[in-house]
């Protein structure tokens, strides 16, 4: 392990804003400060993993062994109106959301 890898990685507000944008989350200025401090601690906690070499020996994947897949035959599902009723807003059997196409155009 090099000295560099032992240094605590500081998670910057710019990084936090970028990740938050990817995750579709928003933070106030004070929340952002807290999340940066927490993320720096958590990343330090995860830095133990840096001891593991992933080169040379191909990374083993422990993918799930899917035991069996059923035949792709549709069977009685949940009635559409019951599913739609869970949405915040709907109209004529459709879930409604703000306009997506042409968003930003006046």
């Amino acid at each position: 392990m090099t000295d560099k890898s032992r240094e605590k990685r500081i998670f910057s507000p710019e990084e936090a804003e970028h990740i938050a944008e990817l995750a579709k989350l928003g933070f106030s200025e004070s929340e952002l400060k807290k999340i940066c401090a927490d993320m720096s601690d958590i990343i330090a906690f995860a830095s133990k993993l840096s001891e593991l070499c992933t080169e040379g020996d191909s990374v083993e994947t422990d993918s799930l062994s899917v035991d069996s897949l059923r035949e792709d035959i549709s069977s009685g599902g949940i009635p559409k109106d019951e599913l739609i009723s869970a949405a915040a807003t709907s109209c004529d059997g459709f879930i409604t959301v703000p306009r997506v196409i042409g968003e930003g155009e006046s």
């Binding site: 995750a23 993993l49 593991l52 879930i95």
Partner: protein, 483 residues
């Protein structure tokens, strides 16, 4: 009738069969107990009083008419609030799902109902299963029935506390990194996390799909075995369920532990484990030796990577799984938004709690360009090493014995402000989730402060029957000693 709530599932089944009391009387007794204890324990988010009584009367009628659904017909059960129950709230203890009523039952719920079980209510938890203390619930903090100033554990803290406080004879939890076993250890109950693929996850609100299983919390080992046997088995709605045959965990339960090889992993008895917990579990190891088992130390060096690997993998999966909560199809929607992006962002920011946001941030970071290899790929590598270590060690021994938790139940608020301190409490439990193996927690002693101490038995995949057999042998020993 006062003390019938202290009986277990099998005792109730026998009492109902001989007509000692009716299902309605039984449900009424638990509802009265809930009324009495909830002010101090806060185990439930929702209690289904009227319907539970209606179902109990229907159960009594079936029994009278000779068309009972089996020995457990009419017995109440509490269910963790991340398991979908038709016509009953399922909130995952999140503001995001406040008021959500699923239009379907999880497969485990269908199986319970088919056997006559009555869902008495939904229990508190850490929001979406993310936490070890129930302090991350958006609605309430569940208190430990042994000391109300301490946590009940998490994330299935409500389920364990409900069983420990005799508010229900049994409960369902889910276990992604110890969420059935850790609260069981803190509350003195028996908690089983089955082998990955043993129980259907259909209808379990997903947190980390490759790690989690629905598990059972009861006051005795035999009750636990009976319930798991009823719930286990392949399900066409969950392609990760295994095609192993019908699960009978009861017929061999009193087979004893003679000549069983039990290893105790050096890594789970070292730094960070309190003296009291270590001594209680080592004393249990000695008792196994006295009962004829061969007990010896083993080593799984890769366990030093288990915690960081777990938190990276589970958070990565959570960041993907929880992207479904966007304020569109179900759940909370922000009141004000100008466009679709604001709708997503504000609904998620207002609807999700701090710990959930932290995990989504960590998971998104670990999967993002430039960091994937450094964190996620290395975490998967660690997981592969851990699995390999378990495979090797299970060639040397039949079972592993360890503490379930490093310490007994901690004080409410003690670790709330340090995420990494909280994460460290999962050190003994996460390896079983990473390896997909079954693990059971059962009480093995009481601390000087009167708090339960839990020990963990881990076995190779699909060895639940063996775990129950070993746990039952130890439990019987306690009964013999106390009696």
């Amino acid at each position: 009738m006062g003390d019938i709530v202290k009986r277990g599932v099998i005792e109730h089944a026998e009492a109902l069969a001989r007509g000692e009391y009716s299902a309605e009387e039984l449900v009424r007794a638990y509802l009265a107990r809930i009324e009495e204890k909830e002010a101090s324990v806060d185990a439930f988010l929702y209690v289904d009083c009227e319907r539970a009584l209606d179902l109990a009367r229907e159960s009594d009628k079936r029994r009278a008419d000779g068309v009972s659904r089996g020995r457990f017909d009419g017995i109440p059960i509490a269910v963790k609030d991340n398991i979908c129950t038709r016509s009953m709230p399922t909130t995952c203890a999140s503001k995001m799902l406040d008021g959500y009523i699923p239009p379907y039952d999880a497969t485990v719920i269908e199986r319970l109902r088919a056997n006559g079980f009555i869902i008495i209510g939904k229990t508190n938890m850490d929001e979406f299963g993310m936490g070890s203390s129930c302090e991350n619930s958006a609605f309430k903090i569940t208190k430990n029935p042994f000391d109300n100033e301490r946590v009940a554990g998490g994330s299935s803290g409500g389920s364990a506390a409900a069983v420990a406080a005799f508010e229900a004879p049994c409960a369902l939890g889910s276990d992604t990194g110890g969420s059935v076993r850790q609260p069981s250890a803190f509350c003195g109950t028996v908690g089983m996390k089955p082998t990955y693929g043993r129980v259907s996850r259909y209808g379990l609100v997903a947190f980390a799909s490759s790690l989690e299983q629905i598990g059972v919390i009861t006051s005795s080992v035999a009750d636990n075995a009976a319930l798991l046997g009823m719930m286990a088995g392949q399900d066409a709605k969950d392609a990760t369920t295994a095609s192993v045959g019908a699960a009978d965990f009861e017929s061999d339960i009193s087979g004893g532990v003679s000549r069983l090889r039990i290893g105790f992993p050096r890594e789970l008895f070292g730094k960070g484990i309190s003296r009291e917990v270590r001594e209680a579990v080592l004393a249990a190891a000695e008792k196994y030796g006295d009962m004829g088992a061969e007990v010896f130390e083993v080593s799984l060096p890769s366990l030093e990577y288990a915690l960081p690997a777990y938190y990276v993998i589970s958070s990565a999966e959570a960041s993907s799984n929880l992207s479904r909560f966007d304020g569109v199809r179900y759940g909370y929607r922000a009141a004000e938004y100008e466009n679709i992006t604001e709708l997503y962002l504000r609904s998620r920011s207002q609807g999700l709690g701090d710990e959930v946001k932290r995990r989504i941030m960590l998971g998104t970071f670990a999967l993002s360009a430039g960091y994937y290899d450094e964190y996620y790929a290395r975490a998967r590598r660690a997981a592969a090493l851990i699995k390999r270590d378990f495979e090797r060690v299970f060639r040397e021994c039949d079972l592993l014995l360890s503490p379930t938790t490093p310490e007994t139940a901690f004080k409410i608020g003690e670790k709330k402000n340090s995420p990494t301190q909280m994460y460290a409490t999962d050190i003994c439990s996460v390896p079983a989730n990473i390896a997909g193996i079954p693990a059971l927690s059962l009480p093995c002693g009481v601390s000087a402060e009167g708090l339960p101490i839990g020990m963990q038995l881990m076995g190779d995949s699909f060895s639940e029957a063996l775990l129950y057999r070993a746990a039952y042998a130890f439990e019987r020993l306690g009964e013999a000693k106390n009696g």
